[in-house]
Amino acid sequence: MATRTWLPAAEIPPSPPLEKGGTRLSAAASVSTIAAYSASKKGGAMTTGILLQLLQTLAAILLAPLLLGWVNQCRAWLQGRGAPPLTQPYRVLRKLFHKDAVIAHNASPLFRFAPYMIFACMALAAGIVPTFANDLPFSPAADAIALVGVFALARVFLALAAMDIGTAFGSLGARREMLVSFLAEPALLMVFFTASLISHSTALPTIVETLAHKHFVIYPSMAFAAVAFWMVSTAENARIPVDNPSTHLELTMIHEAMILEYSARHLALIEWAVALKLFTYSALGIALFLPWGIAARGDLAALPLAALTLLVKMMAGGAALALLEAVSAKLRLFRAPEYLGTAFMLAVLGMLTHFLLEA
């Protein structure tokens, strides 16, 4: 391996403090949407909407590491290890924020910019997906298809940053990530199309409205879509059948290989974005397949119950993820296309079943 010299972080202009950087971006974005929105709507409902939107985005950003901590805890219990405390991800983040960043000599500005971009994309996605209140002022900003694009944008920046330094591991990880994601993305889109065919709209609030608040109907096509979505989200979140989040073994790692060069606050931002991505995917899964309990538009009285059901569903989902990770082995890298091909096929079958049984 070629030797590299490292620069202490003192020579790099200090970036703005983290939490503010993340929320400021999403808040700025939501303010601009809200400005357009308020032209048509007016009055107190608007203010409540904005407050709820801010609350939901902030809650997602702050609670995301907690979900990761819960999954890690369940995993440790199932493996018979002593579990780390629930707040372990927060401690890791605090530790990383207090460290000095070490950056390679030949790093371009893109390398420093990428963590902020990735975190901003995930915060944006967390603001769009309905977590406990439906149809918030920010959700018309992007429908399900644009949401896939937001995830893809974050991934492109991560892959570019990984290849930026020019180490073997970085480009290896980036290529593997692209291999996995170009197979996962169509499957994710197909899952969204199945849900959209049922509700006749690609907007997430309309999908949730149709599935949760209209007359209850069993949709067999959604069973296929749910299995496909689970498979895709394990691949996208670098979880076990495709990637192991806790390995640094060069033969198998995908996500970890890409972020090897990052340290301190940059690494903290990326870790936080990973937690946020898991949270957003869980919220997305809940919104599509278990939407009962999400408060309808303007229904403030339902909010406490909505928050409670969200907590229960997230805990159950995290435990299920840990259980499936404990009982399944990581696939060989070249089995991953087969796994994701199966996910795509299931999503397509869901669409076909929709036309046969539900049309």
Binding site: V217, I218, P220, A223, E338, L357
Partner: protein, 220 residues
């Protein structure tokens, strides 16, 4: 949607049958294949019982019970024992690789759905929309028999096909007369036991359950 809840459950179980058919197609291990076969029987039995309850066709309870007894308990148990005795729980040799098989499977599903559309419009039952799924399951079981080399997986494919034919009969005409159904059940049971004996004979003669060895017409 005007469907009642139990019919929606029947539709869900039909979708589950299709899902299990695809899972069987993609499965590499024989033991998992047997487990999936048992689950297919369970879904079939549950859907038959629900159809019986919602339409008042009492003879369907008998067929649901028979399915539960034979295809969920007796045959899987027999297959588990066979697999243990024959010691064949290694990777199933598929002739095509799994993704190609899956793609062919999707094409078969589209074909079956199109084929079943005019037939199901002629049928007067409430469960007619599931006929397409039943046809698709038959074709997928056929595909499984074609793409596998081991004798035991071919027999499981044959039984899966029998399952889906039974489901097709239930969804198109509320099942066959009870005498016919009992006859078929007995036939299948005896057939499985006879084939079980065959497996041992095949292995004794060829030292393997791979059916490629039987393609040569040469005296040993």
């Amino acid at each position: 949607m005007a469907l009642t809840y139990h019919l929606q459950v029947v539709n869900l179980l039909a979708a589950l049958l299709l899902l299990i058919s695809f899972a069987m197609l993609s499965q590499r291990r024989i033991v998992n294949l047997v487990t999936l076969f048992a689950w297919q029987g369970a879904a079939l039995s549950a859907s038959t019982a629900i159809v019986a309850w919602s339409t008042g066709q009492h003879h369907l309870y008998w067929s649901a019970g028979l399915t539960l007894l034979l295809k969920v308990i007796v045959m899987p148990w027999f297959f588990y024992r066979l697999v243990r005795q024959l010691d064949v729980n290694r990777d199933v040799e598929a002739m095509l690789n799994i993704p190609t098989t899956m793609l062919i499977g999707i094409a078969l599903v589209i074909f079956a759905f199109n084929l079943a559309l005019p037939i199901s419009q002629m049928s007067g039952t409430v469960t007619r929309s599931t006929l397409g799924i039943a046809m698709a399951c038959v074709l997928l079981a056929f595909l499984m028999m074609i793409t596998r080399r081991k004798a035991i997986t071919q027999v499981i494919g044959f039984l899966a096909m029998e399952n889906s034919l039974f489901f097709a009969a239930t969804s198109a005409t509320y099942g066959m007369p009870l005498v016919v159904e009992m006859g078929v059940a007995l036939d299948v049971l005896v057939g499985v036991f006879v084939l079980g004996i065959f497996f041992f004979q095949i292995r004794e003669t060829f030292d393997s359950l791979d059916l490629r060895h039987m393609e040569k017409l040469k005296e040993r």
